[in-house]
């Protein structure tokens, strides 16, 4: 069930009422929400519930084994990685491997046919697998006590607002909330409703509207340079509105039920470097990669032994962090999908990340402190982001290369008009996002604790609700990140 289906509003209304009616009995309340989360996940395909229960049981048991059998800690941690990543890889890459093997055999002249079995990736699997793996690793690092209550643990993994596309919860943040009695707080509920409405607005009004135009331009067999870059700008706005819209809905719904989830976006297009970008974009995933891939790669004696030029006795800090960045971004690209553009996209971010870090290290501190360089760096980084989004959006590398090689002066007047139209759509899509930024930084702090707060906020909600209802289409696009 998607957050923007009308059925979800009815579902949420029922769940919200029963949930708060049970507030006096935390364990009953948790059991209820765990059951509701299973029903939510199994809404379209019942067998998905089995997969979620498998992941939950596996990681619950492995967490206990890691803690209670310290002598075999490495064995259980290794098993957790193999089983979690094995399950994820099976669903994510089965079709790719099958098609690749059949293609290779046919090239060699063998008669080979793919089986009729096509595996589809269960929505949310990536997200709750990472969520559960992080728990077991944290227990293994002695940063967290293994939990013994299976119902609390099921709710921790399966809590429905964050189940399908995150934010990827971390045990130290979410488990204590699951284990503590909740008290109804009207102000928090109101804030949750506002956040969810804003998220729905971003998805329905901005992202889905942008998607219609972006898709038309991307479907063009021979777009001009101006059309390509206008479409890339459109997609850049669309994907932010789509994914941050989803995140805000998830956080808003969770807040209505008394849970605080991680903020996943912090104005990523205002980043002033690639490292800054990853601190602002899909934060729950990039911090996950930082803690469980990047840092272990920096401090791994195994990598120091095997992934180092034999003539070097010890790698410099720069070489170690560059190696870790390439490993991390390669895996991030692989996680996004098996098409070549995702690997190129990961490599692209590794290269620009390394280059920016290298340049930053060369610039004297005195020059860096001389003035605020953000007005120069932010637009420069945005151009890098635009290129990244182009790679991310287009699966055909041949098409991508031909686009990058196009002349900026190749457009006919008609094509320029199309690109101009797309830029106007972009401006219309970006305007509410910029207004929201101004609201957040300038208006909201001044309204706080004044009599204006309630009427202004309520009016903003009403406008958002009317806009959502006006723009809503029953054939609403799926969220971009559901495919991952």
């Amino acid at each position: 069930m998607s957050f923007v289906e009308p059925a979800f509003i009815q579902f949420l209304a029922v769940v919200f009422t029963i949930w708060w009616a049970l507030a006096r009995w935390r364990r009953v309340q948790n059991a209820f929400l765990a059951a509701v989360s299973l029903a939510f996940y199994g809404w379209v395909h019942v067998w998905l519930v089995g997969l979620l229960l498998y992941s939950t049981t596996l990681n619950f048991v492995l967490g206990l084994l890691v803690e209670r059998r310290p002598a075999q800690r490495r064995l259980w941690l290794g098993l957790a990685l193999v089983l979690n990543l094995g399950t994820l890889s099976f669903f994510k890459y089965f079709n790719f491997f099958q098609d690749s093997v059949v293609g290779a055999l046919q090239t060699l002249g063998f008669q080979a046919h793919a089986t009729t079995l096509q595996i589809f990736l269960p929505v949310g699997l990536s997200f709750y697998t990472f969520h559960a793996m992080a728990y077991v690793i944290d227990v293994g690092r002695n940063q967290f006590k293994a939990r013994t209550d299976p119902v609390d643990f099921l709710l921790f993994i399966g809590l429905f607002p964050q189940l399908v596309a995150g934010p990827i919860a971390r045990a130290h943040m979410l488990l204590p909330q699951v284990e503590t009695p909740r008290k109804f707080d009207a102000e928090k509920v109101g804030s949750g409703v506002g956040l969810a409405l804003w998220g729905a607005f971003k998805k329905v009004v901005i992202a889905d509207t942008m998607a219609r135009y972006v898709n038309i331009l991307y479907a063009h067999p021979n777009p001009s340079w101006a059309m390509i870059w206008a479409a890339a700008l459109g997609f850049t706005i669309q994907v932010l509105a789509d994914f941050s819209g989803y995140t805000d809905m998830a956080r808003g719904v969770a807040r209505m039920l008394g849970f605080e989830l991680l903020d996943n976006f912090n104005h990523p297009y205002l980043a002033s470097s690639p490292a800054d970008f990853w601190g602002r974009w899909h934060i729950s995933f990039s911090t996950w990669l930082r803690d469980y891939v990047y840092l272990p790669s920096c401090f791994s004696p195994w990598l120091d032994k095997w992934l180092k030029p034999p003539w070097v006795s010890e790698l410099s800090d720069f070489a170690v962090t560059t190696r870790a960045l390439f490993i991390t971004m390669f895996l991030s690209g692989l996680w996004h999908g098996s098409t070549a553009n995702y690997l190129v996209w990961g490599l692209y971010y590794a290269v620009i990340g390394t280059f920016w870090a290298w340049v930053a290290a060369k610039i004297p501190r005195k020059v860096k402190k001389q003035r605020d360089w953000r007005p120069v760096l932010v637009p420069l980084m945005f151009v890098h982001t635009l290129v990244g989004m182009m790679i991310f959006r287009e699966p055909s590398l041949t098409r991508l290369v031909s686009w990058f090689l196009r002349s900026p002066f190749d457009s006919t007047p008609d094509q320029l008009a199309v690109a101009g139209g797309m830029l106007m759509v972009c401006a219309a899509g970006a305007a509410p996002l910029l207004l929201a930024l101004a609201w957040e930084t300038r208006v909201a702090p001044r309204l706080e604790a004044t009599a204006w707060k309630l009427p202004v906020t309520t009016t903003a909600w009403a406008v958002a609700a009317v806009a959502i209802a006006s723009f809503y289409q029953s054939t609403v696009n799926d969220f971009v990140y559901f495919q991952f």
Binding site: A275, P296, F299, D317, R365
Partner: protein, 79 residues
């Protein structure tokens, strides 16, 4: 100020190229400009080299503030 905190301050000056940094046990990443993931790795590797022991990932991710880092160093030096 403990001898460890003293020595650690020199490491911070070196890694962050800023001799004005004053460390207390309560100092966190939010208090020092430029303390991002990259700098954190450089810092921890320098800590390992300066105090003469290897650093493990779990030690890096588990630290809450400079006080926790000082305690970790003292523990490893004593081990």
């Amino acid at each position: 100020m403990s001898a460890t905190l003293d020595k650690l301050t020199t490491v911070f000056h070196d890694v962050f190229e800023d001799d004005d940094i004053v460390l207390t046990r309560e100092t966190t990443a939010a208090d020092i400009a430029g303390w991002d993931s990259l700098r954190n790795v450089m810092l921890m590797r320098k800590v390992g080299r300066t105090f003469g022991f290897p650093i493990d990932t779990s030690e890096v991710t588990g630290l809450k503030n400079v006080g926790a880092l000082v305690d970790m160093i003292d523990r490893k030096k004593g081990a």
